[in-house]
Symmetry: none
Subunit: 198 residues, 4 copies
DNA sequence: GATGAATGAGACTTCATTCAT
DNA sequence: TATGAATGAAGTCTCATTCAT
């Protein structure tokens, strides 16, 4: 079914154009026209792929989460680094540590602000919350399995805490990069993970 | 003599109407018309108080931060509660623990998403970041002064961590209240503060 | 296949509607809405052809000058009339001698008043000035070539003078047609040209 | 009646503010608000002096012509210069030879473009046309009285011609000062006047 | 599938004017 | 006389969406 693949590829290309517009000009400026232009299409053509602006937006957001998940899945442990380093770097996947991830997270932040108001987006937001929560809980679990973790940690509360730290730091670095630098972000994460360990 | 009107009071009323619209319909729907209507004014009248939409938005946002600051300043220690409880409740001021604060933070989240794109808002965002950072650092400092805190805490990193936790949890509760409930938020905060103490 | 439309023809039609509005109601009343209505289009449609009001205005003005130039180019000498008559009638092309040219010049006068204030229009104004200056200089040159002209004329100053007379008379006849009639205009032009000749 | 004088003085001050706005931003931007601000008044106060925008505009224009007339009346011949020089300099009064007169004429040009469309302004325009025409006819007459003028000049046609040259040159210098400089304007006028003389 | 012309609503903003004080 | 708050219309421009081709 080559057609379908093309179809999907095209949608992905459009979603990437959408990201670009959102990052450059903000989600409010992400008009159908601008996205079409950024994707090198006519406005009419867009309609063959997305029948409405909401649908386009939702698809673009789903892609953000899919990318993160795929990256996380693709990670494999190599003996070059310590298990703790491996786990720490896993968390980097959801922090704005480089340009690519900054863009993803800016897009996601813009999207999140819309969730409050557009209930059709809620489902996706919830799904991503759950996925990420589970992923970070797994980090804590791994620390415990590896016998790194202190005794007496409350798994659920630690997951909440790590999750909040990660998203809070992401937001702080995106919005106030001068006050909360990339290095502070990394350092704070390491400090936190170490505080969980013996 | 012209009509005597308390200019500032009127501006505050308009800002409150702005909040209402933002919370009900999102910042993108916060048009001059809707705000004017919500404030019981004509669009033209709004211009006596705010010469542009940006100015109106900025004022409304400044009010959010001012309110938080005023509430924080107004707090006084009473012997009914323990010092640790007093500090913990101080942090509640910047968490969406009740309807009033939820509204403030929803407004603030919407605003934050705009900061990424509208650099004129950056200054305010930075100021609020700094204020809040200092406030939360003071909490850690207080724990140390009271001899509650563990030895060897890194003040700056602890402040980063607490700040990230607070904002991360606020976002999680606003966006995913079913998954991250009010009680979890409170419990996680207490858990974190306790983890800093002996 | 999309609707096939002669883009340029449509732009010309819109420009003509613009002229009509300017002549009927003045350049200040030449709003996008009124022009769209006069052209039988919606305001949104106008944007397919002109992305801003300035652009529309500029195009409409360029058309005035293009028409004049085309008319001038199309003129051919026939032996029915004397060379002097031929030259004189050439100058008529830039005088409000009939309804069509009155309209053109009213539009141009309105435009000129804007030039003082909108520097983006300056270029066009300068170009038209130069074209017309050259055209009128050629008239003087022709008189000299034909040996009609008096000896000792200063070509550049004569061009300045003829140019000023032409535009001055055009303005006087447009603004004060009762005081400065069509016939006086023609007569004065002939008088001037004759004064250059032996 | 000191009050009345004050009243009139205030109106003059407002008219001058109107000029300033017209020259700086164009007649289309000459809103009541801006004029009020430029004059240091409230919009409401303006209404005590001018009950409508048209009235204000008309008064401001009348002032232009009054100033020119007063200047012309105030001129007195002194033996330092030749009669021809005296006459020539008289014509300078209605040319944009310095900043002050440039402003007057810019204002007047803006006004003239409105005349085409607002018939209530016609009367003033006609009056000024007549006054100026008479003034320039007097220049030609003076040349004749002084026996400077060539024989056989047609007084009326010469007046038309001079009048057209003056207004045409004024327009050219205002709109295209790079192409038609101050010096060219002066030189062309002198050339023309000399061409009338023996 | 693809195009882009067309639409009309709605965005922000500026305006002249009215009017209570 | 003086003020400036208030209004509602109208300005330009952008938008999502429809639709003929």
């Amino acid at each position: 079914m080559p057609k379908i693949i093309d179809h999907h590829k095209r949608k992905v290309r459009i979603a990437e154009a959408t990201w670009k517009v959102i990052v450059d000009e903000g989600i409010e400026q992400a008009s159908v026209r601008k996205i079409a232009k950024a994707a090198g299409l006519s406005t009419g053509s867009l309609r063959h792929y997305f029948s409405s602006q909401s649908e386009l937006l939702r698809f673009s957001m789903e892609m953000v989460s899919e990318r993160v998940i795929e990256r996380a899945k693709a990670r494999e442990y190599s003996e070059d680094i310590s298990p703790l380093e491996f786990l720490t770097e896993g968390v980097y996947e959801v922090l704005p540590v480089n340009e690519e991830r900054k863009i993803e997270m800016e897009v996601w932040l813009a999207f999140s602000a819309k969730v409050l108001v557009d209930s059709t987006l809620r489902e996706l937001s919830n799904k991503v919350y759950s996925d990420m929560h589970q992923g970070l809980k797994n980090v804590v679990l791994a620390l415990q399995s590896l016998q790194y973790a202190k005794d007496g940690l409350d798994l659920e509360l630690e997951a909440n805490r790590l999750h909040a730290i990660v998203d809070g730091m992401a937001m702080h670095h995106l919005l106030n990069p001068e006050h909360f630098t990339h290095d502070e972000m990394i350092q704070t994460l390491k400090y936190h993970l170490q505080s969980l360990c013996k």
